[in-house]
Symmetry: C2
Subunit: 246 residues, 2 copies
């Protein structure tokens, strides 16, 4: 399993992914699930993957090497807009299903991949999409400015309550770290280190791109403060004044 | 879907269940999922069900009407211990699978039921069990004093962080209400009203048995205070001091 979360805010993007992959519980490895496609000053696109690792890696490779469409070969370095980038990623997923779907099914392995694709191309705006196993996709909007893939449930309540379109980027960083921490604690198949990307709208380069390890002092602070705050918060709720009895 | 949670604490039990059942998103009803079997001064057992409603209700009926085992007919009113109660509930599940499993499968409906069974029988102690679709079961222990069935993920992080065996019963009430609130907010198939039961070890009668509706003033307080506390908590976390750039 995996947990990746993306915020598409007024000021920019905040993306966070874990790095654990597992085939069973006794075969655990570290793979980055965050892949960047950039041309300095022209485009900055990040792709986060969850689901079957082989399928996710194949999508990334196809988007690097090129997909032939209508006599052209397109990559994430050549697509004209973020929307076209999402279409191309969806096309890569569908072609992989065509070539690998039956063989996976024969082995009882579901064809399971989901992708967050977020970034900006100069003059074409900043956008964030979630691409499904069928190659179709949705886009984050000001009403719902966050998208999650993989093991999303443990870390969703805090996002549901707090994230808004005008949330500050650094507040967004705190929120995705809290969301990840809840997931790390409750699901063994999501694991450290984690990869963080903060992108400011219009910059065409990252504000922060950082691998956060177990030793990271700031992440330790977030975990401790958040744990304390939750314990304090429930203590501060008054007791009920119900009379006893059935 | 459903969410039920039970705490088996040093001082007693705290049980909470929602009441929503749905067959698709346009067929939603209210059914209590909390069923009590009691003989005043002798036993107090509560059974919470999640999964297929027909299977859950059938289990409850069988435990009321009796299951023939070894020339005897046993019910939850006659079993000699909480452990035997869990065995009988498991037996009911297995018999239902035997009679209904194939017909459900033919309709593409999974045989899906899970049960929390908790309570006390005089002289035989207080215990809490979780019974699976195969009729097998596990018991809560001081190391892991809470069990959840149904849509458990959204409400798990707060329990993981805070609940301990010596948590006070009324603190337990606050925690299960917070856990339920997170679930209600994130999953439409879990819905109000909710049923709360607080049982003090040795009492053989409930301390609190209460249906909590949308209008319940205390639950409103819990929701508001918790929401505010979460927002305050993330604001109180300091910002990172990372230098920018990749």
């Amino acid at each position: 399993m995996t947990y990746c979360v993306g915020l598409a805010l007024k000021d920019g993007l905040v993306l966070l992914s874990d790095t654990r992959t597992n085939a069973g519980v006794d075969n655990i490895s570290i793979f980055s699930k965050m892949h960047v496609f950039k041309i300095p000053g022209e485009r900055y696109l990040a792709l986060l993957t969850a689901g079957n690792l082989a399928v996710g890696q194949a999508v990334v490779n196809m988007l690097h090497e090129g997909i032939k469409t209508n006599e052209r070969v397109e990559t994430l370095y050549t697509v004209s807009s973020p929307f076209r980038a999402a279409q191309l990623a969806g096309e890569a997923v569908r072609r992989l299903f065509h070539t690998e779907g039956d063989a996976l099914k024969a082995q009882g392995v579901p064809f399971d991949v989901s992708i967050l694709l977020a970034g900006e191309i100069k003059g074409r705006g900043m956008r964030m999409f979630q691409i499904y196993s069928a190659g179709n996709f949705i886009e984050a909007t000001p009403d719902t400015p966050f998208l999650q893939i993989g093991e999303h449930k443990y870390g969703k309540p805090i996002l549901d309550r707090v994230v808004q379109y005008d949330t500050d980027l650094m507040d967004g960083v705190k929120l995705v770290l809290v969301s990840m921490d809840s997931t790390l604690r409750s699901n063994l198949t999501v694991g450290m280190p984690i990869d963080l990307l903060v992108y400011r709208r219009g910059a065409l380069a990252p504000d922060v791109k950082r691998r956060i390890t177990e030793d990271d002092r700031y992440f330790q602070t977030v975990r401790e403060r958040w744990g304390e705050a939750l314990r304090d918060a429930y203590r501060a709720i008054p007791y009920p004044d119900w009379s006893t009895g059935s």
